[in-house]
């Protein structure tokens, strides 16, 4: 079975490297992008199995990407895990219609939570 491929879109490079290390320990292939535009480019090159997405980033925020994903048949069903400092402010019910399967709060999560969420999404 080919390794699962996760795209992590996160503007904080240090947090991004922590997430990458955690997932790679789980034998998951990680592709990274530091903003929504870079994320869209990465998705155009290859549709990932799961997307881990920060909410507020320089340039377009996560909502723009979520809308874009819903516009195409091959990306509409990609599960998205939101990983943000503002999890408590995000209306989770609304976002489930946009493929968001879970939301992780960076302020209270533990490193392994991200791997658990990915395994659950796959």
């Amino acid at each position: 079975m080919p390794a699962k491929r996760v795209l992590v879109i996160e503007d904080d490079q240090w947090f991004l490297s922590l997430v990458k290390k955690t997932l790679e320990r789980e034998k998951i292939t990680v592709v990274t992008a530091s903003n929504t535009i870079e994320g869209m480019v990465a998705i155009n090159e290859m549709v990932p199995d799961v997307i881990i997405l920060d909410f507020f980033m320089p340039g377009p925020n996560a909502l723009v990407l979520l809308h874009e994903l819903q516009s195409y048949g091959d990306t509409a069903k990609v599960p998205v895990i939101l990983c943000t400092n503002n999890a408590s402010d995000i209306p989770k019910d609304t976002l489930s219609a946009y493929g968001v399967v879970s939301t992780l709060d960076k302020t209270i999560m533990y490193p392994d939570d991200i791997a658990v969420a990915v395994r659950k999404a796959i």
Partner: protein, 239 residues
Amino acid sequence: MEGSRQQTNRLEGAVPTAPSFVAAAHELKSPLALVRQLALHLESGEVTGGELQEIAHRITLTSERAIRLTTDITKSSRLEDSLFSLEPLNPFVLCQEVVDEMKPLYAAHGRTIVLSSRARSLLALANRDLLRRILLNFADNALHYSGDGPVTITASLRDGGSCIRLGVRDYGPALPSVMRKNVGQKSVHVHSRPESSGLGIYIARQFADAMHARIGATSHRDGATFYVDIGTSSQLRLL
């Protein structure tokens, strides 16, 4: 071409009238959450030699960023009770100090910050501490909210030599169009960046007001310049 045209916007009148506790909490949440995540990785026991040192260094730098912000917030809340003396100062020396102070943080992010050198000597009239904090604020903003390009601090004479503009130029997403549209509308809450609470800009404006300076921003197609305009010292004429 509209996209290539630079548009200058005064932040004056386009920032919130008072910072909220929510904005302060929002700004502090990010570095604190990162420190926690870095510390959790250290605790995991799976970190070795060089990586351990790197994570410890990142914790130090991120903590310093949070401390800088809290110091600015407390200083900002006490501005009305304080008198800030203005002194003639060389803005290049001050800008170089800011560059030197921010260099380790930039380097740790794989970024660079430089001072754009100019041959002409300038003498500004400002409060050294407040001006330094404004520039640190802009430089911190540029690091966290702009693209990967270098950040440049510049100093130039304006208005026929009566004013010195110290700017922090970054490369990344342009300022939001709502900011341009709402210039001058005092009641409108405008964020410095779409993902920022705008608290940093609010504080920078307060510091600027306390020494009769003005802050503003210029939006470029490929980034932005946040600047502070300060008066020149009359001693300049004696040089």
